[in-house]
Subunit: 423 residues, 2 copies
């Protein structure tokens, strides 16, 4: 296996540090728009594993599918890991298809709200552009494994595991994400610094959130499908494990809702994120001002998108690790009927503690928690434990080998524990 | 009198439309960084007064004091009206001094917070840089009439009038500004569009607000001077006249507080602005994100200040008039002892109704309400009713001729009524 990872930001850098401990691949090329960033990642993995010679840095423009295809041909990559913002999904996806590489990402192609009823009906959905090409990928015998970060990703693996091993029927697959992270500036005062790209946070939180329902009564008829809501809908206090505690969560547009119903049977699929009061009021302000816009404005003859400025003024999520404290939790709350026929409510989750991820990987917890999943998936593809073609989500594959490899102690496994809580 | 007005934004454009009806000057040159904007203003006044030939458009870079001085020499300007953002105060002020022109502005040189106690002690105050040069101006026999918009400006005139004619002693000179304006997008939905420059709103609302106190007890001692507070301090519901009604007002850094105590005797001088809940939460969000910053950041090799982006994405205050509804009120609440020896509380105010200002001047009410004051002041200087040299605020001059000229019916006066309310 020859891996080309595009993006040496927070997640890409952490993925390289996790991958360097594994021996399932021959070459791991780190590509970035900024060659210095790619080199920094390569240097840091080489410092962790003296003598390591599988890592190389190249430059690539992720917005140009021809440049992506050229980089694949140059490196002989068999698998491309997309570790950049979701706006680059389609050029990387298309570049892979053109050059015949397999593809993995951690977020899917972007949505467009419904023209007439944006907060009721789904328009172009997350991943629609990718799934439209599913038969091409299948025909070519190539795999696009989409949404294999932590959420989507590990959450989808948990959902598949619950469906296969814990439940006989499922009412709701409800991804719930929350944290108790705090950021302190170098001078010791508390500041504002999201754990992942503000560009992506704006995208997913201000788009109409989507839910899947098997039996929604619409005007006297029962309909099955995807429906949307206004941003920040249906706030719910969810109690997160391992000391994080209760956090108010609201509906957010997320890939799990689009992926799980394709392979798993449930009455309802939802995603709620523990945004907190401050983040919600910041997002509302950005929207009111139009600073969430991706369309460039002209300032003194210079074209710049307001959202790019917002992302640029915040601390880089890749470098805030030393200033963070706390834990972040990703998981799926599954409700329904257990295999014993009794009502069951089970939360399957993973908690990352920033203190531990900084100590062991020099990576902040949110990016680290995202980064290990595609590496585990690549290892399962390398060994043949996972195999397939087409455009597929993580829940299209057997969850057991993933969770076993994840939890098995090093050096056989990754030594990463996950939890189950009955409620 | 030969007038050079620098800035053909909202206020400048309205000032030209008000000035074109008056005959006290010989030439009125409209200068802007963007020559097209200056030409648009000149064309609009010529359309209002066929045959009008006193107006001319030139280009000038307000950030360059040499360019300002050159424009004064080119046009033979005797009086320069600064109608641009307060960040350009010093280059225009210095350019006038160098070229020997008299100077008027509607906002003063910028403040810098106190290094150690920003929310308690005043650092560099609004206007400090200008007042530092007062003796030079006085020696040269030239006048810098600072803060002669509506607030500061008309508010300072009201305060002087109250001190001279209504009160024997004053407890508080409290400028209070509030509105019931609403902005509707072309599609009819309500949007967010401040009535004046968002750059300036951020500057004045996020800087530590300043108050003046004659007798403040500090650590057992009585001190006289300027003190600061945290932004949005001491919220107070103030009932505005003419149907605007109660609006929550908070302390804001403003020139009145720095000007009035120099010429008027009061126990306390304050400024409170009816920001409203939405504006406060937006300003807090901008500050949390660092989007209030004037320091450029680099985006893909381009340098741009976040605050410039915020201002650029909002509707231009100069052009929102047709989409606005409502009224705005500027005034001073004076409390103390009346000339009859009885306790007195009097609000002196001016209300501008957007419907009327659009109809009569094709100008939205906030910029129009700012714009008429420097024109009235210029007329008083032309006739000799106001005369003097040095750096002086509006309250350094007799208020009566100003208020008489303002309220007298056209064509003798400006036909602009102001109000007094006993409380």
């Amino acid at each position: 296996m020859r891996i080309l990872m595009i993006g040496a930001g927070g997640v890409g850098d952490a993925a390289a540090k996790i991958a360097v401990e594994r021996d399932f691949y021959d070459v791991f090329v780190v590509a970035d728009y900024d060659i210095e960033r790619a080199r920094r990642t390569v240097a840091s993995v080489q410092a962790r594993q003296p003598g390591e010679n599988r890592f190389h840095a190249v430059t690539v423009d992720a917005s140009d599918e021809n440049a992506v295809a050229a980089a694949i041909r140059l490196t002989g990559a068999t698998h491309v890991l997309n570790a950049v913002d979701p706006r680059f999904v389609m050029p990387i996806f298309n570049g892979c298809r053109a050059a015949g590489a397999n593809y993995l990402d951690m977020a899917m192609s972007l949505s467009l709200p419904h023209k007439d009823a944006p907060y009721d009906k789904a328009g172009v959905k997350l991943g629609d552009e990718q799934f439209a090409q599913a038969s091409d990928w299948e025909g070519a015998g190539r795999l696009a494994l989409v949404g294999i970060g932590v959420e989507p990703g590990l959450s989808d693996v948990f959902a598949r595991y619950a469906a296969d091993h814990l439940f006989s029927s499922i009412d709701e697959l409800g991804t719930r994400d929350g944290a108790n992270l705090a950021y302190f500036r170098p001078d010791g005062t508390e500041g504002f610094a999201p754990g992942f790209s503000m560009w992506t946070i704006i995208e997913e939180c201000l788009n109409p959130p989507v839910v899947w329902e098997k039996s929604r009564v619409v005007g006297g008829n029962v309909e099955t499908g995807f429906f949307t809501l206004p941003p920040f809908s249906e706030p719910e206090v969810f109690d997160f494990p391992e000391g994080i505690g209760p956090v108010e969560c609201v509906h957010v547009e997320h890939e799990e809702v689009l992926l799980m119903p394709r392979w798993l049977d449930a009455e309802r699929v939802t995603f709620k994120y523990g945004l907190g009061e401050q983040m919600i009021s910041i997002l509302k302000a950005l929207h009111t001002l139009g600073l969430d816009s991706k369309d460039p404005v002209t300032i003194k003859g210079i074209q710049v998108a307001p959202r790019d400025i917002v992302a640029a003024v915040l601390p880089d999520p890749a470098t805030i690790g030393p200033q963070l404290t706390g834990k972040t939790c990703a998981g799926v709350m599954v409700t329904g009927t257990g295999v014993d026929g009794q009502p069951r409510s089970t939360y399957l989750y993973h908690v990352a503690d920033n203190e531990v991820t900084m100590r062991d990987y020099d990576a902040q917890c949110v990016v680290w928690q995202t980064a290990f999943n595609p590496i585990v998936a690549l290892e399962l593809l390398a060994t043949g434990a996972w195999a397939g073609a087409g455009v597929r989500g993580p829940e299209a594959f057997d969850a057991a080998p993933f969770l076993e490899l994840l939890a098995a102690p090093k050096p056989e496994g990754y030594g990463i524990e996950w939890g189950i809580e009955e409620r």
